[in-house]
């Protein structure tokens, strides 16, 4: 496929799976792996994102539960043929645009790319969540692309859960585009508990329509390395977009999160709350940008990143950012790094709760704040149980000192 000399943005349309793969191949060749100078990889440990060691294809099996019959499902090729204009631009321009373009292209061009397009029909209000359990197995890489279209006035809760067997080492590239039309409501929960030797590049792009309510909740409970990129194209007035994230990281793990709240037009409300609980010598990177374009007046945009450091070896890097080009806006961001509040622990111990249990309770409370945003009891309960076990497991872990975290920024005296 030739790339036109002048890129006419309005005509970026991919009409078939082979076209998608060819475009990905092209992008893979043009892009390069991240270096220290890349601002989009600032503070990341650049040794971790290598694709080496995952040459063979791994298997992805998807098990579904919930009212999937009520939803229209298309394979990727058909979806792109019929609705390339809906998803094409997002796939080409937005997925991977926060820094992982090459990784995403690598995934999209691979032979074992799987995925579907899910369409929730106009006015359709689903009474139970759509659940997709994705299980990876084997040693190697796999890619998943999900295209979600929630039509006017519809409402749905979708839960995509990624997992792998304990012994397996997989590198998963997961791309998701969620297009929400006017007046629709969608909550998308993306959780993962991959094995300790696995890696994940997770890119999500949402496009909320006018007067729509879109909520995304990212939960990271596993994997040695996660690169998570979430972007929201906020160009329709009256939209309300909430982005939540919870990551619990243990010894030797890194969670690298980059987000973009792009207020392209006025009258949109966006709110982001990401929380990281870091055990042992884990590290987190959070870079969140709120960008308000010219003319995007009456914007309300908020962002908050809270880091709970639970060991002397843990490390949190935060880069909350604002680029404001309009006025009549209310924007704020905040970031905190801290430890478990000793006063909170004292209070619990003064009620007889032992120190370990008290700290556990407080840490769970920290995490539950995000779980409670899902808005569906069944999912919250299941996730709570998993978070609890994860917290127990993390408590037991030894702190691995000596694993020096190298960051992408030059260090100073």
């Amino acid at each position: 496929m030739t790339i036109p000399a002048v890129l006419d943005l309005d005509s970026v349309v991919i009409r078939s799976l082979p076209e998608l793969r060819a475009a990905a191949e092209e992008r893979f060749n043009l892009a390069s792996w991240p270096t220290r100078k890349d601002q989009t990889w600032r503070f990341a440990d650049l040794k971790r994102n290598s694709i080496e060691g995952f040459p063979a294809p791994a298997r992805l099996a998807v098990e579904k539960s919930g009212p999937w019959d009520a939803v229209s499902r298309l394979d990727l090729d058909t979806a792109l043929e019929r609705h390339g204009d809906v998803f094409g631009r997002a796939i080409e321009e937005s997925l991977g645009s926060l820094g992982s373009a090459r990784h995403l292209a690598w995934g999209l061009k691979s032979e074992n790319l799987t995925g579907e397009c899910w369409i929730v029909g106009e006015g359709q209000k689903l009474d139970a969540p759509l659940v997709a359990n994705v299980r990876a197995s084997g040693q190697g890489h796999a890619a998943l692309l999900s295209l979600v279209w929630v039509k006017r006035g519809a409402s749905a809760i979708i839960w995509e859960d990624l997992g792998s067997a304990v012994g397996d080492s997989v590198f998963i590239v997961n791309g998701t585009v969620v297009v929400v039309e006017d007046g629709a409501e969608v909550t998308f929960v993306g959780s993962q508990e991959l094995s300790q030797t696995s890696k994940l590049v997770n890119c999500l792009h949402v496009v909320p329509g006018a007067q729509s309510k879109v909520r995304d909740v990212r939960i990271n409970l596993g994997a040695q390395w996660v690169r998570q990129e979430v972007s929201a194209a906020l160009g329709q007035a009256g939209a309300d977009c909430e982005l939540f994230g919870l990551s619990l990281a243990g010894a030797g793990e890194e969670v690298d999160q980059r987000t973009l709240q792009a207020h392209e037009a006025g009258g949109v409300h966006s709110n982001l709350l990401y929380k990281n609980a870091l055990f042992a010598n884990s590290r987190s990177v959070f870079s969140g940008l709120i960008r308000v374009d010219h003319g995007a007046h009456q914007t309300d945009a908020f962002q908050s990143c809270r880091n709970l450091l639970l060991s002397d070896e843990a490390e949190a890097n935060s880069m909350p950012g604002l680029e404001i080009n309009a006025d009549q806006v209310r924007c704020s961001h905040g970031s905190t790094c801290g430890q478990i509040d000793p006063e909170e622990v004292f209070y619990l111990r003064a009620r007889g709760i032992r120190e370990e249990a008290a700290r556990h309770l407080v840490t769970f409370g920290f995490a539950y704040d995000i779980l409670s945003r899902v808005g569906n009891e069944a999912i919250e309960e299941q996730l709570s149980a998993r978070v609890e076990s994860r917290l127990f497991a993390l408590r037991e872990q030894p702190v691995e000192s000596g694993t020096q975290a190298v960051n992408g920024d030059g260090e100073l005296a």
Partner: protein, 466 residues
Amino acid sequence: MDAVLIDQSQGNFTYPEDYALDAGRGLGPKTVDYISEVKGEDSWIREFRHRALDIFESKPMPTHWASDDLNAIKFQDIRYYLSKGKGGPSRSWDDVPDDVKRTFERLGIPERERGFLAGVEAQFDSEAAYSNIKEEFDKLGVIFVNSSEGLSKHPEIFRKWFGKVIPTGDNKFSALNSAVFSGGSFIYVPPGVKVKHPLQAYFRINAEQFGQFERTLIIVDEGAEVMYMEGCTAPKFETATLHSAVVELVAMPHAKIQYITVQNWSSNVFNLVTKRGLAHEGAEIRWIDCNIGSRLTMKYPGVIMKGRKARGEVISIALANTGQHQDTGAKMIHAADETTSNIVSKSISIGEGRSTYRGQVHIPRHLKGCKNNTECDALLINSQSRTDTYPAITVRGNRHATQHEASVSQVSEDQIFYMRQRGLTEAAAMSLSVNGFVNDLVREFPMEYSVELKRLIDLEMEDSVG
């Protein structure tokens, strides 16, 4: 010498000049030699300059993160050393633009200072003011000289720290300064001496003082205290388009240094400054900064808290009007237990002005009890202005607490309406609101400045409204 032609449309003007000493345009090893010769420097200083020149040439422009506007700097067109000697540039008062004259009036700048600031006079007759204080300093053992004198007459004090707080290779512009520096203040305060009068840059004006590449080094010994002030609110006429200063502060245990800068360079100037302080145990370093002028200012005052319970603080006000970009911030490096840092930055963007905050807070592992608090707020006055905030906070370990908050807002329309209903004009209402926004920071500036600052903000607001 050729007349220096400066772009009229930028509010500057032409005038004939006559320099006693001039290194010529462009930068190379010969320029460095010329400067060193003229000053009669020891060979170690000349070598220092040459090494710095090499580093400067090898480093690329940091445009991968900084403004592309940097590419407009034409290094080969700049004169790196000019000394006005006795004569200096002279132009008549008639040549000074009216709005500049009006500003002096409005800000209440004393008559005798106006001439100097407007480039009409080469020297500000400050010697008289200084000579009174000089006696007192001599008694206390306080040293207050310029960089050349500092290095040649008191090497045993200054050489130890010169280039240590900000190594030559720190960035391209500190390397440039290290190659061609001239002027600036070298200050030493002996143990226990708490200097009552703020030391002011203009006490020590000489032919080189307000040069482009000032080098300042302030060493305050144990338990001593000093406050240093530089700059002024009045627009400072400058021919040079590039200012690249380096300021190094060293606070020995339990010492305290407050460094106050008010910058209002004319709108053709690139103002790229590297400022950093080293605070030992129990010491405190405060940077209090106000940036109103220049075309592009890049300045990130920093404190390295090297000793236990050291404290670093950056208080910053920036105002960016059309054609200006204030790119400022702070850098706090915690290197000892129980150190605390505080950053408060408030910026105002007017017209098409652009203000950017870049911050870095770093707390490494194996320390305990460190705290950082950062607050950066931006006020947008109208729809064309732009503001960016890019902090980076790195914390290792579970024994610290950091908090960063930033917000962007406008002057509330309800507020303006309410004030106008009570009879204020829109401009007056805006001024009040804006002054309210920066008020608690303006109060950190010494009296002499804070009154002028308020008036200056009023002036800027007037131009922007209506």
